[in-house]
């Protein structure tokens, strides 16, 4: 009997719950939310094996996998691992991700996998990095850029990240560095219709997650698209309430290295509503963890380290409507 749980039913969680069901209906799908009305709404939309359950019941029911969305993911991850579940954490908060990576020993002790940063960015961006790197014999530089936000929590995280420095890997010098947030302006070309966006350094987790998969890379950096207003107001509280769901978002990864004697660079991207894509990625990661299709069955890591069959992962995502893309001509 397969049992999945989804905790947090906001913009990402609701999509994750639907995708967990669509990817192969589990025998039981437990839904947990701070809002009983919201949980009931999602349960009604999914039907079938879905039922609303409080967090304590989720833990005592020994689910095969728990997908965490919303707040408090490190604490819930530790509890879920102890309960014997694989855990997929969709958070993009750097501090949360650092805490989750610190649960590696707990995950190994429980004999379970903790998938960290399984969303749109990080998440899909990490899989794209891995897929692009597969065409190279050695990876020298990895650059990730993202644009757009999902639900209100994602918008707040995006706003806060532009005011705090994030880690960047510089293997030729000091190793981990933290350049100022808002610096490093770079024009990045995302898949259409997003197109060209000015991107800046921010508190982003991709370098941390990707470095674990590519420790020999000389340079790993991440940028986030931002307007002039975003940057100027980043250190202030949000001046207006975020939308219930953001507009179209994009990710772009560029992986440079060597293929034989040749220096090559491969660019991949994706465009979708971030919450939709994040839900699909989290749900697929949960199914793969249960099916044993990830590179490891215990421990704590991001998708760049765990998804070796990137073609299979991207194919299944494409079937769920989340499609990767590559530039053609001079537009990339």
């Amino acid at each position: 009997m397969s049992r999945f749980a989804v905790v947090g039913l906001g913009a990402v969680g609701a999509r994750a719950a639907r995708q967990v069901h669509a990817l192969g209906p589990p025998d039981e799908l437990l839904l947990t939310s701070a809002s009983a009305a919201r949980a009931e709404e999602v349960r009604g939309a999914i039907g079938g094996p879905a039922r609303v359950a409080p967090w304590d019941e989720v833990l005592s029911s020994a689910p095969d996998a728990v997908v965490l969305c919303g707040a408090g993911q490190p604490g819930r991850a530790a509890a879920a691992l102890e309960a014997g579940a694989h855990v997929v954490a969709s958070t993009d908060s750097l501090s949360d991700i650092e805490e989750l990576l610190g649960l590696a020993a707990a995950a190994e002790g429980a004999g379970r996998m903790l998938v960290v940063g399984a969303g749109f960015s990080p998440g899909l961006s990490c899989v794209l990095v891995r897929h692009a790197a597969g065409r190279l014999d050695s990876v020298e530089e990895i650059r990730v850029a993202s644009s757009g936000t999902g639900g209100p929590a994602c918008a707040r995280q995006h706003h806060a990240s532009l005011g705090r420095p994030g880690p960047e890997w510089d293997g030729s010098a000091a190793g981990w560095v933290r350049p100022p947030a808002g610096s490093g302006r770079e024009l990045c070309w995302f898949p259409d219709p997003t197109g060209a966006q000015d991107c800046y350094r921010a508190e982003l987790a991709e370098p941390l997650l990707v470095h674990a998969a590519f420790p020999s890379a000389t340079r790993i950096s991440a940028r986030r698209a931002a307007s002039r207003r975003d940057r100027l107001t980043a250190r202030l509280p949000m001046l207006r309430r975020p939308h219930q769901e953001g507009l179209i978002g994009s990710v772009r990864v560029e992986v440079s290295g060597r293929s034989g004697p040749l220096a090559e660079s491969h660019v991949l991207g994706a465009i979708d509503r971030p919450a939709v894509a994040a839900g699909a990625v989290a749900a697929l990661a949960a199914h793969w963890a249960v099916e044993g299709r990830l590179a490891r069955s215990t421990g704590s890591a991001g998708l760049a380290s765990l998804v070796t069959d990137t073609a299979g992962f991207l194919r299944q995502l494409a079937e769920r409507g989340v499609k990767a893309a590559a530039p053609v001509g001079a537009g990339g």
């Binding site: 197109g195 207003r229 494409a318 893309a325 001509g329 990339g332």
Partner: protein
């Protein structure tokens, strides 16, 4: 002297309004370039 002071104030107010507008009003998108993006499919996903 009064006229000069008024001119400076007017320029200052105009500059402040222009700065505020630049924060709010979106810039025109960059001009289109050649090329584009294609979805990964088939041989790309093997």
């Amino acid at each position: 002297m009064r006229a000069l002071r008024r001119a400076v104030v007017a320029l200052g107010v105009a500059g402040a309004i222009a700065s505020a507008l630049r924060l709010v009003v979106r810039q025109a998108p960059p001009p289109p370039t050649a090329g584009g993006w294609r979805e990964l499919s088939g041989p790309d996903l093997r």
